[in-house]
């Protein structure tokens, strides 16, 4: 096993650096004529700043070194495997970085005359079409800024659908499997719905009998991801769709796991009415340490009101690129009278979308299908190598192949020697790997939800497995040792309880200093 040592610069906080009078940027001097004409600042005293800002003062040299050092104490896909389940941490190719970051789009105002941005609109129009084809839907809006934002958009569309049909008073519930991402119930609640949870069966599918018992006249919709968070394909998806549609409830596809079926099956063909797409997962735009993402929503052309000629696509929010054949130009169509409105101020997270455009263009349909095949190959390779390793288990759907991810459980190890999923995660960090998503999905105890994506080399999968075996060996020989991990990262294990304690909690430097000075009320 290679030895890993992360940098530890003991880097001071930005507030502990610099010296009074320093400046990190050159700014233009005001023209004499401008100064003369204006005379001075005439802001009324009641709103004019009266005291200096308390920001640090650094030279550009210090700012550069500070943040460079901080990057060396971080870890991304560029450093090694980041197998966070349901996060699809694939490689972020630099060609897409170049073409999205350096394309001049950073200088385009979202309210600019559409005739001045025809090139960009053409690209976005094509992307809308490509995405619709990938998920088998009829219309897309690129508007939402992230997956959860897309979910909120989708659930609001469901709400609007029932409102326009005059049945919102009885359509009050959204049904969600217990294996769902936490954002699903949170989004449903934000859209004013009651959340009804349905259990999973031992085969890893939604328990269909349980589903039948909760779906009825009060059901507004179902939110589900397929493959689900266990990495398993919902085999009865067609029956599920029929059941929901029988009660005029809509089927919502959480696109977080699209990487597992792309090119093999499409949500639109499975009976879904609405789908969101995670551009920052399936289509390789980088996650940036927590964002930006982009979460387009696509819908089927389902009829909402025959007399008024309203379709589901009329309910979509934000700005949609359309082609005006008469004038031969692309236009940005704002929210119409049946639209749910705006979910963010303007068009969309354009830079990640440009990234996705480049990715899809380079891959082509053939490449995207290969992406799916290889993320599935890699997942099953890993699952197979982990089969029977002491201390771990792979619950649900015994004998079934996984798609994009697999959920290991460290429950045997935790029960037998008290070494938990968290300890295992820290042991992985020490070997220079990022850890899987832990303690999720909630239905798996001591879960290690692992998604390598097609990015990972089989050699790294083998090394990862070797480390998991080594961790198990140490755990059974000396169960107190894993509690000391990690040892090779820039800091040791953090005291989360203390960090949240009312007497300690410091969400900013300002609070920390106030507490030191006894100024905190």
């Amino acid at each position: 096993m290679r030895t890993y040592r992360q940098a530890n610069w003991s880097e001071p906080l930005i507030f502990e650096l610099g010296s009074p009078g320093r400046l990190g940027i050159t700014l233009p001097e005001l023209e004499d004529e401008v100064k003369k004409v204006v005379g001075g600042v005439k802001i009324p005293e009641s709103i004019k700043r009266s005291k200096p800002l308390s920001l640090p003062e650094l030279s550009e040299v210090e700012v550069t070194r500070h943040f460079t050092n901080l990057t060396q104490m971080a870890y991304g896909v560029d450093n090694g495997p980041v197998p966070l389940g349901s996060c699809t941490m694939k490689f972020n190719p630099r060609i897409a970085w170049d073409l999205s970051f350096n394309s001049g789009v950073d200088q385009l105002h979202p309210l600019q005359d559409e005739r001045t941005v025809q090139g960009l609109l053409e690209v976005m129009y094509e992307l809308q079409k490509w995405l619709a084809n990938i998920v088998g839907m009829d219309a897309c809006t690129l508007h939402p800024a992230a997956g959860a934002h897309g979910e909120l958009t989708g659930v609001l569309v469901i709400r609007k659908y029932h409102e326009l049909k005059g049945q919102l008073d009885k359509k009050k519930e959204i049904v969600i499997p217990d294996s769902a991402h936490g954002t699903n119930p949170a989004s449903a609640a934000m859209a004013g719905f009651k959340v009804i949870e349905v259990p999973s069966g031992s085969d890893g599918n939604v328990d269909f009998e349980a589903l039948k018992s909760v779906v009825g006249e009060s059901t507004a919709g179902l939110m589900i991801t397929n493959p689900n968070t266990l990495g398993l394909f919902e085999e009865r998806i067609l029956e599920i769709a029929d059941l929901l549609h029988k009660y005029d409830a809509l089927l919502y596809y959480d696109g977080a796991n699209l990487n597992g079926i792309m090119g093999y099956a499409r949500p639109g063909d499975m009976g879904f009415d609405i789908a969101h797409i995670n551009i920052h997962k399936t289509f390789s735009s980088p996650h940036g340490g927590g964002g930006p993402g982009s979460g387009p929503i696509c819908v089927k052309n389902r009829l909402v009101d025959r007399e008024k000629g309203i379709y589901l696509s009329d309910l979509l929010p934000g700005y949609i690129v359309v082609y005006d054949e008469e004038k031969g130009i692309y236009r940005l169509k704002g929210p119409g009278s049946h639209s749910i409105g705006l979910l963010k101020s303007f068009f969309a997270n354009t830079i990640p979308l440009l990234w996705a455009y480049v990715y899809i263009a380079i891959m082509g349909p053939q490449g995207l299908r290969k992406v799916t095949e290889h993320c599935v190959l890699i997942t099953n390779y890993f699952a197979k190598l982990m089969n029977g390793v002491r201390g771990y288990d792979i619950p649900y759907g015994k004998g079934r192949f996984r798609k994009h991810e697999v959920v290991l459980s460290a429950k045997p190890m935790a029960d037998e020697v008290g070494v938990t999923a968290e300890d295992v995660a820290k042991g992985l960090l020490d070997a220079g790997f990022y850890a899987p998503t832990i303690y999720f999905p909630l239905i798996v105890k001591e879960a290690l939800m692992t998604e390598f994506t097609e990015t990972e080399t089989p050699e790294n999968i083998e090394r990862y497995v070797e480390r998991l075996k080594e961790i198990s060996k140490i755990a059974y020989e000396n169960p107190s040792k894993p509690k000391e991990w990690p040892l090779n990262t820039s800091v040791g294990r953090l005291d989360i309880v203390k960090a949240n304690h009312p007497k300690y909690v410091a969400p900013t430097w300002r609070v920390y200093v106030k507490r030191l000075k006894g100024e905190l009320k």
């Binding site: 930005i14 600019q112 964002g291 068009f347 263009a361 969400p507």
Partner: protein, 467 residues
């Protein structure tokens, strides 16, 4: 496709080895659980319009994209347009730091010990923003100003449980208002419009007093407001809200804070705003940076949306950083979470942190002054040229409305003529505010030099004379 630089296991040898280990003869067997009626064949999939029908090289991708984007119009100057998002300078250092792979390609720092640099950078963003706003608690970011304002309104309803009314001024950004409406629509919230004073351009305190009552959960104030006006009565407005127990929510343009009092000093309970001006670029709609802050009052902090990084200590006694107060968030609380937000705009928050570190205490004030002076120079020059620029009495920051009612021309005509000269004029607001007639908002930043402004004013003068 025999291999691809982004799929390392795509070689004949590797595929054979993997298939052998997992015990299947062909990769298609791994997809046998998909019902046949919906399973796509290779031929069906390959025929769909996705990309250009076949894989291409990065050289071709570059050529294609450059070809398409070259159809965008090249303007002589940055657009004289704001509306909450402005053409500000983006220092190369900002772009460089956020392009470093350790930050760019990282996920949300779920594993703290290996992500300390990332977490410190986000903590520093929160802390720098806290100083700028003089608010104690700042989250790691929201999507943009509009969605941050919407979440602030929802938070005021949670804090003041049982109250159902929220007051939004008529002079707030109408795009932000639309977002607030979409977010609050399912919750039966009564949104009441507070009028602005036609003379000053600011919210009318006396009128506001009549609207705020015991049912009011929150009062929103944007400063500078949509017309660019500085809202001289901001503090009094906060007091009106507090008298009835409503939360005072302010929306701010961070660069203006170089010259204006902070939300904290004005008594805000929640401050929101847009981080785009802090080194992010215009990005045609995103990514942007929703700023969200509150006072250090646990009744408020517990209702805050979004992720927060806090100071921590390791068991070895080292200083560190951790995600804190997570019991508010969706991955723990599911339907009881304060918001569904997960992925936010972390990288943009880091960009803003780098930019604020470069500007520092004096740089931000200087930058604000440049913006103020350039806009006021434009205002004086336009006035000299006989254009109607004094719609409101109160001072403005870097944006103001220009009315063409007197000239009797439609703004669309002026816009067209400016565009012919390679200039993109202001934002037409006659549709949103019919009472103002043919009026457009013009914005000026450090990117608009004296000669750019002179060119604009000369052009406007010529166009209106001939018109």
């Amino acid at each position: 496709m025999e291999n691809h630089p982004w799929i390392p296991s795509l070689t004949r040898d590797q595929v054979e080895k993997i298939l052998r280990v997992i015990g299947v003869g062909d990769v298609s067997e791994l997809f046998n659980d998909i019902p046949a009626s919906i399973k796509l064949t290779r031929e069906q999939w390959d025929k769909l319009e996705i990309g250009f029908g076949k894989p291409i090289s990065e050289i071709e991708a570059k050529k294609i994209l450059h070809g398409k984007l070259s159809k965008n119009t090249t303007l002589k100057t940055p657009p004289f347009m704001g509306g909450g998002f402005y053409p500000h300078y983006v220092p190369p250092l900002v772009k460089y730091i956020i392009s470093r792979g350790e930050f760019l390609t990282a996920y949300t720092p779920y594993q703290a010990e290996i992500s300390q640099g990332l977490m410190q950078a986000i903590f520093e963003y929160q802390s720098l923003m806290a100083e700028l706003l003089e608010m104690d608690v700042v989250n790691a970011s929201m999507y943009d100003w509009g969605s941050a304002a919407a979440e602030a309104v929802l938070m005021s309803l949670r804090v003041n449980k049982g109250r159902t009314k929220v007051i939004l001024p008529a002079n707030m950004n109408p795009y932000h208002r639309k977002v607030v409406e979409s977010y609050t629509w399912p919750h039966g919230v009564k949104i009441v419009n507070a009028p602005f004073n036609r003379e000053t351009g600011g919210v009318d305190v006396e009128e506001l007093k009549k609207l705020v009552d015991e049912e009011t959960a929150g009062v929103y104030l944007q400063y500078p407001n949509f017309f660019g006006v500085v809202e001289a009565d901001a503090k009094a407005i906060g007091e009106v809200a507090h008298e009835k127990g409503a939360l005072f929510i302010t929306g701010v343009y961070p660069i203006a804070l170089g010259l204006l009092k902070s939300p904290g000093e004005l008594g805000a309970d929640i401050a929101v705003g847009e981080g785009q001006p802090l080194g992010l670029g215009l990005n045609y709609g995103g990514p942007y940076l929703g700023i969200f802050a509150t006072r250090f009052d646990m009744n408020l902090v517990r209702q805050m949306p979004g992720r927060i990084i806090g100071l921590a200590e390791s068991h070895r006694g080292e200083r560190g950083f951790a995600m804190i107060l997570q019991t508010r968030e969706q991955h723990i609380r599911r339907e009881k979470a304060t918001s569904n937000i997960c992925t936010n705009e972390a990288l943009m928050a880091i960009a803003a942190a780098v930019y604020l570190s470069m500007l520092g205490k004096n740089g931000l004030v200087k930058l604000a002054e440049i913006n103020y002076y350039r806009a006021h120079y434009a205002w004086a020059k336009m006035r000299q040229a006989g254009l109607t620029v004094d719609l409101f009495k109160w001072d403005f920051f870097n944006e103001f409305p220009v009315s063409f009612n007197k000239q009797g021309v439609k703004y669309s005509f002026i816009h067209e003529k400016l565009l012919e000269r390679g200039i993109h004029g202001g934002l037409y607001i006659g549709d949103q505010y019919p009472e103002l007639g043919e009026t457009a908002l013009f914005a000026f930043t450090e990117m608009h030099f004296k000669e750019d402004i002179d060119l604009l004013v000369e052009s406007l003068t010529e166009i209106t004379r001939r018109g």
